[in-house]
Subunit: 366 residues, 2 copies
């Protein structure tokens, strides 16, 4: 299947990606503002302003493709507007490096604004985007994706700043090293950088990507927008689309958050309306562990997302504040994240919670 | 002219490079230990254990060549033994990247162990080394070389760690950016990394390099070794070879030194024998400014080098200690470092001393 995304589709994708972002992946409002600006500029010039979306199954096996995203703490990305061509530069640098053109751009992380970055790069390069991603949500570190889980090398990987500088990681012994080196460079680049990686064949893309997640994000966002008009509860509607449920309703009464080593880390406490029950959530860019009155009720890789109680608007870690009234959604992770090998990369232990067992929710995200 | 360096030549080169290092450029003892080990291993296996040295003027204009060195604070390099193949890896990575073989290796920095690193890479790759360098001494930052002064781009540049990881800087808007990004990566790589850059044509090498500095280092070291045997004053002999003089004789009575942001920074005070005059020296890896009783008597880019009073052994910043009895040599910089443009890169102002004027010593280093 092949379809085109226009400026009319962006709001829904941004909302859905915010929900799949579980607090991280970059502020979707900023991503939405950027791509809508790019699309309007093209429309004003009479140029094509749509992005072609293709299914992973349509990629030729021997094609060369690359995922595009932004690396950095959401608290930083929120303050630093991107300059425009840094993602384009990383893609073109890899083409120069490989002496081979790209066939399609991939979404590394569907959650948050990283769902929108490949669409912007697609507008700039004219390449299509594959309806799939490598996380099915957002995660804070590079090695937490289905390519790493599947043993695909992160090299060559390109990192670009807003001044046109591009660094290519030519050889990498481990994905943890890729994360470590790219993270310090990102901090030096101002806290946010364009990232193009991994380079994969069409066959690898088909095998490792989680299929259909761009469409899922768009469906989720459209459902929230529809619920706002119809008067349905957006939180209930969107949780059902992700095969999950509303875990909690209450307001934020306590918040600790600091930006350290390139991450927004912290915890928050919510108090339930009426019943006074307490939900405690720990996060590292993304929401990781939810405890209800001290008992673990949801953990990574299952999805824990805060939305505004009234309108279902997803709340990123960078936008948390005292007194915010929210619904907390819990949705099961995609099945690709729940194998024994995958849990080594994205289970609670990978985030520094070795004593928290992953008790999966029933079902799968899609 | 073409000649070969054997294991018999290394001690003299190491001493001379230490003198030209003005305190920095990496501990020459470590460099000497490493290359002698590599040479002995090759001799034991019956393999070639010599390095071919060629004059810059013999490089074909359209040849492709690269300088090789180690980046990092000397206080760190001193504690961290190199693992062996990281320089080889960076050279080969650039050949892969360029899809073009290298003709020769260049010395980026003749001062300190960075004079020896290209010789080690030459043993490993079989490439010759050019008798010239891009500093005529040692400097703490990447952009402080005759290639930067001459406007040669630092991209592509390769940085390699001891685990086989190589990062290539594909595009760089300024050499200051190259310095900034490479420095944070070097720190993340453990404080020391192999560096291959810039890639230059033979024509560029001829135009920008300071010719004959490897031979100068070897002559200086040989003169120190000869003076030790003959009973002459090694400090006087070697200062004369560099067209300079002995500025001071005394002992270190005060020393402040810290390793910060990848550099060894600090200052020391020496008190003269008998007369009680005081010489104060500020350094950032290398010795920068010498003040005699408060009056500036020597500054970068002219060379200020400490040697042991008894035997003329050069003293690196990492080996400074209270009570050390030293002679301080002052030698004029090579003429390439004293143009108005060069002084923007390597004059006192470039090191944070805008109020210190560069009053050049008479003559040139060579």
């Amino acid at each position: 299947m092949e379809r085109y995304i226009t400026i009319e589709d962006i709001e829904a994708i941004a909302i859905g990606a915010g929900i799949l972002g579980t607090g991280g992946g970059g502020n979707t409002y900023m991503g939405r503002t950027w791509i809508e600006h790019e699309m309007r500029q093209r429309m004003a010039r009479g140029e094509p302003a749509t992005v072609r979306i293709i299914d992973a199954d349509h990629l030729p096996d021997d094609s060369v493709n690359v995922a595009v995203s932004t690396m950095g703490a959401p608290t930083v990305s929120n303050e630093k507007l991107a300059q425009g061509m840094e993602m384009y530069n990383t893609v073109r640098a890899l083409e120069d490096y490989l002496k081979h053109p790209m066939t399609a751009l991939l979404i590394g992380e569907i959650g948050g604004s990283n769902s929108i970055m490949p669409l912007i790069a697609a507008l700039q390069t004219g390449l299509p985007v594959v309806d799939a991603d490598a996380m099915g949500r957002a995660f804070p570190e590079l090695q937490m994706d289905t390519f790493s889980i599947g043993g695909v090398s992160h090299a060559p990987m390109a990192l670009g700043d807003t001044h046109g500088n591009v660094v290519i990681f030519h050889s990498l012994d481990t994905t943890y090293r890729a994360e470590q080196y790219a993270r310090v460079l990102t901090i030096s680049m101002g806290g946010s950088a364009a990232l193009a990686m991994p380079v994969v064949s069409g066959a690898q893309a088909k095998q490792h990507l989680i299929h259909g997640t761009l469409s899922l994000a768009q469906r989720m966002g459209a459902a929230v927008l529809a619920a706002r008009k119809s008067g349905d509860d957006p939180a209930e509607v969107v949780a059902a689309l992700g095969h999950g449920h509303v875990l909690f309703r209450g307001k934020i009464t306590d918040l600790e958050r600091k930006t350290t080593q390139g991450f927004a880390r912290g915890r928050m406490t919510l108090v339930g309306f009426g019943d006074g029950r307490k939900l405690d959530i720990a996060f590292q860019n993304e929401n990781l562990i939810a405890r209800l009155d001290g008992e673990v009720v949801a953990t990574v890789p299952d999805l824990i997302t805060l939305v505004q109680l009234e309108d279902g608007e997803p709340i990123g870690t960078e936008s948390l504040r005292y007194g915010l009234r929210v619904a907390v959604l819990a949705m099961p992770a995609p099945k690709e994240l729940k194998t024994a090998r995958a849990l080594e990369f994205v289970g609670p232990g990978a985030f520094g919670y070795p004593d928290v067992a992953f008790a999966p929710m029933a079902g799968d995200l899609l």
